[in-house]
Symmetry: C2
Subunit: 164 residues, 2 copies
DNA sequence: TATTGTTATACTCTATAACTATA
DNA sequence: TATAGTTATAGAGTATAACAATA
């Protein structure tokens, strides 16, 4: 168990990390705010799902999820098909357009981080990813990921660049 | 230099960490939003300063800083004295009331984190703090901290608990 | 003319509550 | 009656731009 002062320091780091998030947010396409990006990312990683499940993964209220989804759907990035098993629900699915948008997001984010973290080793970045993943998990975040989330590099999607 | 896929993964972790920040935000006193808390924290850590300097440290526009400061000042947590050297400026200073508020914030944050991160070792928390600090620094964050920020435990303020 | 700070306005993200449709 | 999802409303955080006072 860590000390109190360390927890306070961690709390401040979490608060201050907002600056980095804002920098990342600034490079997003004008019509794709962070909320939409998160929706696309989770649909890509976890596959088709219903609103409720997506809200869980996003860790926000379903009303918020509904707005983000509506935004993405309006731009053709995702489709909402009626759930045959429950007519109250809708199944969300990433479209080819959504996948393309995701590629663009990945490209921009990776580019900015590669630039800013040029002097970081592969291992250091991996360490940070691992600790942040665990931090989220420790906060009752069952939304972390499906299987194999510790090795994102192993995943093979359009987001995995062909080469460096 | 890390791989592209790793940067994309890091970007997603940064996006998802918002859930943890929201949890921390929920335990704040009703009249002390995160913006005010950040102001108090920085004044405590860096000492008296002007608006411009605080805006730099917060990494937000000065208009935003002005609002947060006004909120804190209205509650007596900080004082704005005229700068004798430049009549356009105001010197911000933490009041005893602000210090007390900061103690309460520290107490609540530490308590929540201690609860959630009960199975983390002192070293793991330290690692995360170190990597997050460096991440902010890599993003041109000269606002990181003054001296000794790698050893927050060594600082002796009211925020450093007397014991565990 | 440039800079410090404040205020007005607008946009994003979030939560709560009221509502519809279905289970 | 309970649940899935939507919409209305409100609050916090942020940025841009217009403005005031001073340098």
């Amino acid at each position: 168990m860590a000390e109190q002062a360390q927890f306070w320091e961690l709390a401040r780091q979490l608060s201050a990390i907002g600056a980095v998030k804002r920098d990342l947010g600034r490079i997003l396409p004008a019509d794709c705010p962070a909320g939409s990006a998160a929706v696309l990312t989770l649909l890509d990683r976890h596959g088709d799902m219903r609103m409720g499940r997506l809200a869980e993964l996003l860790a926000v209220d379903m009303s918020v999820t509904s707005r983000h989804v509506a935004h993405a759907a309006a731009r053709g990035w995702i489709e909402r098909s009626p759930d045959p098993a429950d007519k109250r629900s809708r199944i969300l699915r990433l479209t080819p357009g959504g996948l393309a948008q995701l590629d663009e997001l990945s490209r921009r984010s990776s580019h900015l981080l590669a630039e800013r973290l040029a002097d970081w080793s592969d291992d250091e970045v991996g360490q940070l990813i691992r600790l942040m993943t665990r931090l989220r998990a420790s906060f009752g975040d069952c939304r972390s990921a499906p299987a194999g989330f510790h090795d994102p590099v192993l995943r093979e999607t359009t987001r995995t660049p062909a080469s460096t």
